[in-house]
Point group: C2
Chain length 215, copies 2
């Protein structure tokens, strides 16, 4: 075999740009309604307009960005109806994912979740909004990875992406020292093998924060 396995020597430029923008959006680092330009993105990542355009198309397709009639791209202004819908989607998808992960949840996973949870508490104390959002999503992703349902997980992440720009705003309205209460319930239900309890805990955790925005 002549070809040495090099899994990802230098990701394509459009991939780099895509990943960069994606995590920024998902973590709420871009305000709703903020607008972007192809040349600006290109300059920022040191590439030409071509890869910038491709990454934008991808993000638009995933609902992370909207583009106006004239082709201008910006993060979507989110309405209450849309938030309600996205919260319902999170509930539907993530309850199912958690349920599928339950029979596969070993002790190692529970340890991992508890560790991530500690990180979340730390972020709350530090008032680090981006860190909080990132850790919170990490908690959910760690659990759902056990569901062995990649298409479903991808859909859930797409919903997170669409909610990204409002997450920041959401965080501002949370109680300052709010501990991840429902996360504890999720872990307890996992330990007990309690499926109805797990479903309820996930549903509450997922809709709790978003309810604040719609009222």
């Amino acid at each position: 075999m002549l070809i040495q396995t090099r899994p990802d020597p230098s990701p394509a430029a459009h991939e780099r740009v895509y990943r960069g923008l994606r995590t920024r959006i998902m973590h709420g680092e871009i305000a709703p309604g903020e607008s972007l330009t192809l040349r600006g993105i290109g300059r920022e990542f040191g590439v030409s307009m071509t890869p910038a355009r491709e990454s934008i198309r991808r993000l638009v397709a995933e609902g992370a960005l909207t583009l106006s009639a004239s082709g201008r791209v910006s993060t979507p202004e989110i309405t209450n109806d849309r938030i309600e819908e996205l919260a319902a989607l999170r509930s539907l998808l993530e309850v199912e994912l958690a349920s599928r992960a339950l029979p596969r949840a070993h002790i190692a996973l529970i340890d991992r979740l508890q560790s991530i949870n500690g990180g979340i508490t730390e972020m709350v104390e530090r008032h680090d909004a981006v860190g909080y959002i990132r850790s919170n999503l990490e908690f959910h992703r760690a659990l759902y990875l056990r569901a062995q349902a990649p298409a479903m997980l991808a859909m859930a992440e797409t919903v997170w992406l669409q909610l990204g720009p409002t997450m920041r705003k959401l965080y501002g309205r949370l109680r300052r020292s709010e501990p991840p209460h429902y996360h504890r319930l999720i872990i307890a239900a996992l330990k007990a093998g309690d499926e109805p309890g797990l479903r309820l805990a996930v549903r509450m955790d997922v809709t709790q924060g978003l309810r604040l925005l719609t009222t």
Copy 2:
């Protein structure tokens, strides 16, 4: 006002290409594993590689196409696990959409559904696979449009898109003169305002065919 309202005078080239490919994939006109080339697409639609590439990026982002490590694009070969997952997603999303549409379902909608249903029967008699798939999706979309949940509908359509290439294969295994049995149940439940019945009928309709593929 100087600017005359022209809602869509000439859709951008990449949009045309995107729509063209999308409907072909969703209707099952492209076999699983079939591969496409940027130059080929460009030649077919009379455009250069640039719009072809953008539409491909979009479709890949939506899961309608996969691209290999070397960047080659093709329709995804679908495994049984993936089909099971996508069927579960259809079930989750479409049951919810139908449920939300129920309180808004007027007589005009029911008439429309019955009319589409007639078209489906016709397609079955004609052994027109593509027409069958198209009419079937039209039936579901007409119902879900009443749910007033655009983000959720978009997700459901994404799942249809991902199932597209296997729809054709599925059709081949259906009984020749199979009438849209569960569609009748859906319409009956709508008329009766029977929510549990509607949820069940949609779940059965959505998973019925796909079950054939996994066994």
